[in-house]
Symmetry: C2
Subunit: 400 residues, 2 copies
């Protein structure tokens, strides 16, 4: 099958939306071999509970194969396990309020189908997780960015924005926020801001999409209630995932919220329910009760890596590079001094085999060249120390 030489072209058949898309070039600008990557929030592969998952998989295939391998909905037990996890966070859930997807990313990717027509306003944080926000952009959303400070999203700035939009007759479709161990800044929104945020959502009739992917990975202190527990009127769609606490490669995430939203999300999830087999396997694993112990192991490991990264930064980076200490999660956010461009720094660092995520990859509005995100989750402790030493050398050269 040679490429068509006919007068007709296959690409003529594409819908306009398909013709206008350009393939992502993400990461292709670095030509050097990266030996220490702080760029991506990959899980630490040493920590996967592969032995317990193997036990679960064997049990499912021995005892539940007729159901788990045929067409059908996800395991009832998985719904139950997710409902228990939500209850432990103070969130009331039942089947009608719950959808399970191939990672929380799939559910975030379905939001545009339900909520966004071209030109609709969506409010996002700056910086934010562009993996989700990029999909809102592709759907034609008009994004408004609310700044994030050390206490998460600036809800006073949000209030001004909502008020101004209302004066123009504009009602945003939703507010996408990561209130706990924010990606990329690691910050956590305190209770008073959460209360105000939820009150604003109800006042202005705007949905909050609460991405809570990292909240189980808390290094110290008490949990702050999710927005979903503060909301009495159903304005929060709560999104979470097994990717950070079990394994990303099983691809399971979920959302909990108003049944009308859940029903719509399910209708646009056009390939049908998530795979029965994997859902049965993960439900079996959760039902052993081992997951909470496993999460304690993850916390110990990621906390250690985070501390090591911050110590190395304190030792190796010039003092005008300011690292934010996260309360949990996968990331340390570093503000760079005015004379350093994150994009230029990345090119220089990659010459020495080190990469990170420049802040520009975390803003939908072009900002961020003054910051970088360092993911400590994936690298070994040895590589973390090496990589920060190398990055410190590059930074110090730029000081001169």
């Amino acid at each position: 099958m040679a490429p068509t030489t006919h007068a007709h072209q296959i690409t003529d058949l594409f819908a306009e939306r398909a013709r206008n898309l350009t393939p992502p070039t993400y990461g292709t600008e670095l030509t050097k071999i990266v030996t220490v990557s702080f760029a991506y929030g990959l899980a630490d592969p040493i920590l996967f509970p592969h032995t317990d998952l193997a036990v679960a998989s064997a049990a499912v295939l021995a005892e539940e194969a007729p159901i788990a391998l045929n067409y059908g909905p996800p395991s009832d037990q998985l719904y139950e396990q997710i409902i228990l996890r939500l209850q432990a966070k103070g969130i009331t859930a039942d089947r009608d309020r719950l959808i399970i997807g191939y990672g929380s990313g799939q559910i975030l990717g379905l939001l545009p189908d339900v909520f966004i027509e071209p030109g609709n306003v969506v409010i996002v944080e700056g910086p934010t997780y562009l993996g989700a926000v990029g999909r809102f952009i592709n759907a034609g959303a008009h994004l408004i960015t609310i700044p994030v400070d050390e206490l998460g999203m600036d809800v006073d700035a949000l209030e001004v924005t909502l008020s101004n939009l209302k004066k123009q007759g504009i009602r945003p479709r939703f507010i996408y926020t990561i209130p706990t161990f924010h990606n990329p800044t690691g910050t956590t929104m305190p209770l008073f801001r959460r209360q105000k945020l939820v009150a604003l959502a109800a006042e202005y009739g705007v949905l909050i999409v609460e991405d809570d992917a990292y909240s189980d990975l808390r290094f110290q202190g008490e949990a702050i209630p999710p927005l979903a527990t503060l909301d009495k009127e159903g304005w929060v769609l709560y999104v979470n995932t097994f990717s950070k606490i079990i394994a990303p490669g099983i691809r399971l995430g979920w959302a909990c919220g108003d049944p009308a939203i859940i029903e719509r999300l399910a209708m646009f999830k056009s390939e049908g329910p998530v795979g029965p087999f994997v859902s049965h396997m993960v439900a079996r694993y959760c039902a052993t009760g081992k997951l909470d112990y496993h999460i304690q192991e993850l916390i110990a490991c990621y906390k250690h890596k985070c501390n090591l990264l911050l110590e190395a930064i304190a030792h190796e980076f010039p003092s005008d590079v300011v690292a934010l200490r996260p309360g949990g999660g996968f990331y340390v956010w570093c503000k760079l001094p005015p004379h350093i461009s994150a994009k230029a720094l990345l090119i220089a660092a990659s010459e020495h085999g080190v990469s990170f995520l420049p802040g520009t990859r975390c803003y939908a509005n072009g900002q961020g060249d003054d910051a970088m995100r360092l993911a400590f989750s994936f690298q070994t402790t040895k590589k973390i120390v090496e990589g920060i030493a190398t990055l410190g050398t590059v930074l110090r050269e730029w000081q001169r």
Copy 2:
């Protein structure tokens, strides 16, 4: 979180496409308990290779967990195994021409994103697989139905349609066809029709979407080349799945075609690549070489069930019900005499605990009340005999 009592309603935030969708009511019209269902093309649960999958799963989790459980693309070995399977059918494939999805259903569900703007013409068979075609309808496609006879799609009728459309300046986006062991009729398109179909696609510049889900389940005779092997210009997108030959519950299907299409499909598959874990598990299983032997077992079983169903029909049904003998696959299509409505028959049969798919569920244009699809794949041989006896009794009562 009580339902909102605020002046604002969450449903106000829905995009028009979400507001206009109504939840499927599929199957809810039957209130009686069905004890023998011929309605759905479920796999026979006795036949799942669960022991071999357990071996594969254990090996992946013991040896490849760091890769198989993290973020990442599907297993390279799965691509290789699929490429080998395609080569065995005479189809040349490589990574650029291949996308793996959560079942072929996901890939068929992505076609509208790439090809359909509201009002675009899509050509389908009548009858056809509405699970796929329903998604084209939801995307606003203007469907044109080409009749299927004992030799599959009537390509002469297709030619007339294409010619008429061309005179109106209309170029259809694609032709959706199941040329081998057609769902629902079980018919197989002979080579001369395939050659003409592929020639028409090239002449009129229309993509063919070849859904080949059932072709490995051939009860007798030699395979007829897939459309994809006859096409020299890249006008065929070939779609297949592991659902019928391994297990639907693993959710793995694929498409092979022009790299420009594959690239677009991947961009609209917004949750990213299929799960690494399942892809590694299935690749391991395929690499054992056992799949081809397993398929021989499946063929023996499904052929036996098909013969049993046809014998029971010959014995139990009035002679004016005409059953088509399929060359393979999951389904027997029965034409009913003029005085019997399939929908009315279904209601009567369900009173006796038996269900099937009325032909109306297989046509996009409202036809089909004169036929029914009987799936023999899922039921035990005992239930097949029982169910057909019951259905025969109902039919004979209607004869009077």
